[in-house]
């Protein structure tokens, strides 16, 4: 089933707004967009107890080809949102990526996405984006404090000192809403951004990619395979990746001057698929589409009471799976801060650290995805020679494969120099420094994990006896386990952990004052 050219995964119910009968109230929080990021932010805030209103244009979850790779950091966030295990169970777990070049049968390079083993979540899980959206919706639809309005489009916006007024369009007419805060998760072509006249700058990569999602039953390993210059797509690249339900993502670089409508015709897609998988492959089309990619971001992600998250704020090419993963990191970073501010437990300036930290995240994602794109589609003769030189040298030397960039897959961005962090006073030889995400470790033999025990509030992680006095919930670990090794901990070491499981401060020996001071700083009161 399709709807104005968009394939439908699941129909949702449109409801006529009560506001059309003049029943309007002021909201604390409205989210625009029920894509993955808007839904995650909605669930996060709803779990924190807020009434959440989500406005979203379509009346369905789309089945189009979008994100498929979800990173460990995203899965850790999903665990806190309560959908992690469902996503991992549905998904295809993979850790190995292989890179092929030319007619060469063996990979010229191979990588492992989870170099540190013994963590709860795998390096990556692949699943269709609609499954993630569906699971988020299931969780949200069970909550009485959530109102997702399918078929309600934001069409006007007036910003005010203490909130904004929204105009919403439905098939039954327009209405207005007042809200204290607005989170704009309305995607790459954000209407909120346009209505506010905000710029979105970056560069477009002059290339087209055919995304062919197909279904077949051939047995193949759950690995990411990437080709440079394969015989079935000479001088260009290709990618093969597994999704659940026997669906595979095939991605073929097409070049710049092409006819997009022609490119997705089965008679033109078929030779590429057979070239990659063999002439005897029997497959069914799920969805074919052609994409061009760009990297861009807003200058700031916060404008008064309007906060941008996900593709509305930043856009990357998909090599590296940094789009949705970067957006989930936005939601994770934002929601605990917004919670503290709405509760009056922290000053509004705390939100500014969302801007600082997530701009850092977006820049890192844009840098990495630009570099990957430059390697995959060299844009001048010298870039081409350098790229080919790397591929050829990879057959003869051990060092060259490190230069092969078929997408540096999404890793959490450390918030170096964040205003919320307290820099190290003591010397650490290992462990996550302030601004870095916590590392997972098994804490008992029976499947209990460090990250799962942290939950989503400020906490103290202490190693050894005599935990320092503090108002915080404290988790105590022995000094001889894997956790102690991973945190570079001795007897008396403490870590202050933020609700998004980022390290705020750490000490070899902390006093009550040390902790109070660092906690204040991490809450924007420093």
């Amino acid at each position: 089933m399709t709807h104005s050219g968009i394939p439908v995964y699941k129909k949702k119910t449109y409801n006529k707004p009560l506001e059309l009968q003049n029943q309007s109230k002021r909201h604390q929080l409205v989210i625009v967009g029920a894509g993955p990021i808007g839904l995650a932010a909605a669930l996060d805030m709803a779990l924190k107890g807020y009434d959440v209103l989500v406005l979203t244009a379509f009346e369905f979850i789309s089945a189009g080809s979008k994100g498929i790779c979800y990173s460990k950091q995203t899965l850790d966030y999903f665990d806190r949102l309560g959908i992690g295990e469902r996503v991992v169970e549905k998904g295809v777990i993979w850790n190995v990526g292989k890179v092929f070049s030319g007619v060469q049968k063996d990979p010229i390079y191979q990588f492992d996405m989870l170099p540190i083993k013994d963590q709860k979540n795998p390096g990556f899980v692949n699943t269709q984006q609609y499954h993630v959206e569906d699971y988020l919706c299931d969780a949200l639809e069970n909550m009485p404090n959530v109102d997702i309005r399918w078929g309600h489009s934001l069409s006007g916006l007036k910003t005010k000192q203490n909130g904004c007024q929204l105009q919403v369009s439905t098939k039954d007419g327009d209405y207005t809403l007042e809200t204290e805060y607005l989170i704009a998760c309305d995607g790459a072509r954000s209407v909120v951004r346009t209505l506010m006249n905000l710029t979105f700058e970056g560069k477009v990569f002059e290339d087209n990619f055919l995304i062919a999602d197909v279904k077949f039953k051939q047995k193949r390993p759950s690995e990411r395979w990437f080709w440079f210059d394969p015989p079935f797509n000479p001088d260009k690249s290709a990618l093969l990746h597994k999704q659940p339900d026997d669906v595979w993502r095939l991605d073929f670089q097409l070049g710049w001057d092409i006819d997009k409508a022609e490119a997705i015709k089965p008679k033109n897609v078929d030779p590429l698929i057979k070239g990659m998988l063999g002439d005897d492959i029997e497959y069914e089309e799920e969805w074919y589409s052609v994409y061009t990619f760009q990297c861009a971001r807003m200058q700031r992600f916060i404008h008064g009471r309007v906060i941008f998250a996900g593709d509305s704020a930043h856009l990357v090419s998909p090599f590296g799976a940094r789009g949705a993963n970067g957006g989930f990191a936005d939601a994770d970073n934002l929601c605990w801060k917004l919670d503290l501010v709405l509760q009056n437990n922290a000053p509004e300036i705390l939100l500014e650290s969302y801007n600082q930290e997530r701009v850092m995240g977006a820049d890192e994602n844009i840098l990495n995805s630009t570099r990957s794109t430059d390697f995959i589609t060299p844009k001048d003769p010298f870039s081409q020679s350098l790229r080919d030189a790397v591929l050829e040298l990879s057959l003869d030397t051990d060092f060259a494969p490190a230069f092969i960039n078929s997408g540096r897959l999404s890793m959490p961005t450390p918030y170096l120099g964040s205003v919320l962090s307290t820099e190290d006073r003591d010397i650490f030889h290992a462990g996550p420094a302030p601004g870095h995400p916590c590392i997972d470790a098994p804490i008992q033999s029976d499947n209990i994990w460090l990250l799962s025990s942290l939950g989503g509030e400020f906490m103290l992680l202490h190693f050894g006896q005599d935990a320092p006095q503090s108002q915080l919930k404290t988790l105590i670990f022995p000094t001889d386990g894997l956790a102690a090794v991973r945190y570079g901990a001795d007897e008396g070491t403490s870590y202050l952990i933020r609700p998004d499981q980022v390290v705020a401060a750490r000490w070899k020996s902390a006093s009550f004052q040390d902790i109070e001071q660092a906690l204040n700083k991490a809450m924007g009161k420093g």
Partner: protein, 63 residues
């Protein structure tokens, strides 16, 4: 920080110069460019120090 050596550091400049020229004999400009790229990568990896490489890049840039 290690500095890029800009004083003479080789005993036989003429030999090395000739080897570089010989390497490109009979190559198309395209092949030449790839050979140069390989050479740069091999030497860059040998040097290994990004500071030294950055200094070389700065010196090599057209003015």
């Amino acid at each position: 920080m290690t500095s890029l050596i800009t004083q003479t550091n080789i005993k036989n400049p003429d030999d090395i110069y000739q080897k570089l020229i010989d390497l490109h004999k009979g190559l198309t400009p395209e092949q030449s460019q790839k050979v140069n790229a390989k050479l740069i990568l091999l030497l860059t990896n040998h040097i290994g120090d990004i500071n030294v490489i950055q200094q070389a890049i700065a010196l090599a840039k057209p003015r």
